[in-house]
Amino acid sequence: MTAPAATEPVLQVTDLAVEYRMRHGTVRAVNGVSFDIQPGERLGLAGESGSGKSTAAMAIMGLIRSPGRVTQGSVVLNGRDVTRLEAEQMRRIRLADMAMIPQGAMNSLNPVRRVRTHFADSIRAHSARVGDREVRRRMVELLGMVDLGEEVADLYPLELSGGMKQRVCIALSICLQPRVIIADEPTSALDVVMQRQVMQTLRAVQETLGAAVLLIGHDMGLLAQFVDRLGVMYEGKLVELGPVRSVFREPLHPYTQVLIRSLPSLDERDPVRAAKIAQSTRVPSAVNAVMTEARPGHWVAVEEAVSR
């Protein structure tokens, strides 16, 4: 389903599936998901808790742990399928070529290490011989890119506010200039004003680097503000994928329609209307659906029988 593109995609996910083998059977958390991202592009993945969006991100990063397992599909980064790599090869790729900004920045920094130690560890995990002075130089530059001063380097995570911690995480994620940044709900713990500023920072950094961003989240407003293209996940499947304007203006899949049309608006006060849409729309199971291109570049999942 990859449209012929002018440039080679930086990341190409094809028919990816992740299964969790449990005592009571197997759960397919991600069920045949395909998409690609062009260099410098911002792609969003929307979906509710349990839709598989975060699991897909973890699979792309090679971070699925037992009892979970990538059972099919490929993740091609810069022309190389990373699902076939050994652990050590994958470790080298993470951060250097593909970095993740985790959900809940407050928990992802080591509380007993200063900010500067995080930078030194991250940089040296990939090139052990970088000297102290060079680490310092790069760190100050990176902190500057996320609007933080040099003095932050000597602080411990608990001395930082939520917004500062998230900025430190952004700075860490770009310390090796990755081509792909995966951000999983990067602002979910922040107040709206800080959320806006952190997203601003992420965009500035991304544009400076020319990196592609995969933004994962459930806040449709945030996705509308940030991404170029939007994918919607439901029951482990990608049920819609298209240019963000096209998806917001004419959502094609019933689930996307509920998601977008039942959003509370700031224009008109009418809680009844939104609830009616949510209650009256039947969302079919996506399990056996296949993607079809309904409009140029805008794909939707339909039941296989209907598609032909």
Binding site: E48, S49, D147, S161, G162, G163, M164, D191, V192, V193, M194, Q195, R196, Q197, M199, Q200, H218, D219, M220, G221, L222, A224, Q225, V244, R245, F248, Y255, V258, L259, I260, S262, L263, P264, S265, L266, R269, D270, P271, V272, A274, A275, I277, A278, Q279
Partner: protein, 356 residues
């Protein structure tokens, strides 16, 4: 006319000495028993909104000021008075998972208050009451009763807690972030059920949230809190559409609108709320972040200036000649005019039958 519930000069201070944190300062507001209202209390984390909810619910004794239920001090009342309070003022909490005991079917949660408050003389009537409350919040009794909590969605579970609150026959429901843990596509149904109870049963609501958009959707009045103080208060339509306090302006302007063609305005750079406790006697709570800060903002805290019949703003920008101040007294704003857009609710949709 004695209000149903009233906070007078309510203050909450946690800790002492260097660790002293003022969570809420000098807040006065009230809810009438006879004129139902739908009030949103909006604020970020640390604004004092949950502290206010807990104080109003009788869970947190005020450090200063008092909370009155039907004219009696809530924190020194007991016995019959407290029993009446527990019937007439109900709470809905954020997490629709935590309030359930996973070992019981959901019937248990509905049956317990019926038994405790003696709401139904017979089993049949108890069943009938349960079914009516469920229908009132848009749940089908057949699909709900006899189930275990894990068999219901987050939205269904939260509507069930609304049904439980409803069957007790409250006059006021205090809902603290009732939809923030519910998936987006189900939020609308929960909010709509709150709104419907307000209109059909004349129940007043205090809707506590960090989300201005949902506050705008369901409530009629809004109180914007910032660091324990009222920043702005008034008719929700006006406050959201034409915010007057620089903080409310920043807040409204930062809402990510779900429309790619309405992006945030130009980049902003506002410092984060100070970690340091502010000098409450000498400064506006927002002075350290305010783009329009003036010298006097760090000399004394601004009072609430009345800017319209049904609005007030705590900001010196509105200190015009002869402007009336209302101190911390939100009552004066909400009493000054009827803030309900449709005062009688009067379109026949109103149903005076209390389910209890």
């Amino acid at each position: 006319m004695t209000p149903l519930l009233e906070a007078r000069e309510l203050g909450q201070v946690f800790g002492t000495g260097d660790k002293r944190t003022v969570a809420l300062e000098n807040l006065t507001l009230s809810f009438d028993a006879d004129t139902p209202s739908f009030t949103a209390i909006v604020g970020e984390s640390g604004s004092g909104k949950t502290t206010l909810a807990r104080s109003l619910l009788g869970f947190l004794r005020p450090s200063s000021g008092a909370v009155y239920f039907r004219g009696e001090d809530l924190y020194s009342t007991g016995g019959a008075g407290l029993r009446r309070f527990r019937r007439e003022v109900q709470a809905i909490f954020q997490d629709p998972f935590e309030v359930y005991n996973p070992f019981y079917t959901v019937d248990h949660m509905l049956a317990t208050p019926i038994r405790k408050f003696g709401l139904a003389p017979s089993r049949t009537q108890a069943r009938d009451l349960m079914e009516r409350s469920l229908r009132a919040v848009g749940l089908e009794p057949k699909e709900t009763l006899g189930r275990y909590p894990h068999q219901l969605s987050g939205g269904q579970r939260q509507r069930l807690t609304v049904a439980r609150a409803l069957l007790i026959g409250p006059r006021l429901i205090i809902a603290d972030e009732p939809v923030s843990m519910i998936d987006a596509s189900l939020r609308a149904t929960v909010l709509e059920s709150l709104r419907r109870l307000h209109e059909d049963f004349d129940i007043s609501f205090v809707y506590i949230t960090h989300d201005l958009t949902t506050a705008y959707q369901v409530s009629d009045n809004v109180i914007v809190l910032y660091r324990g103080r009222v920043a702005e208060v008034g008719d929700v339509e006006q406050v959201i559409k034409q915010p007057e306090h620089p903080y409310t302006q920043l807040l409204v302007g930062s809402i990510p609108i779900a429309d790619p063609d309405r992006p945030w305005a130009e980049d902003i750079n506002v410092p984060e709320a100070g970690e340091r406790e502010l000098d409450r006697e000498h400064a506006c709570a927002f002075a350290d972040r305010c783009p329009q800060v003036m010298p006097r903002c760090t000399q004394s805290p601004p009072p609430l200036y009345r800017t319209h019949d049904n609005r007030a703003v705590s900001c010196f920008l509105y200190d015009r000649d002869g402007e009336e101040t209302v101190e911390g007294d939100v009552r004066k704003i909400f009493r000054s005019s009827d803030l309900r857009p449709d005062p009688a609710g009067g379109d026949g949709r109103r149903n005076q039958t209390d389910p209890a």
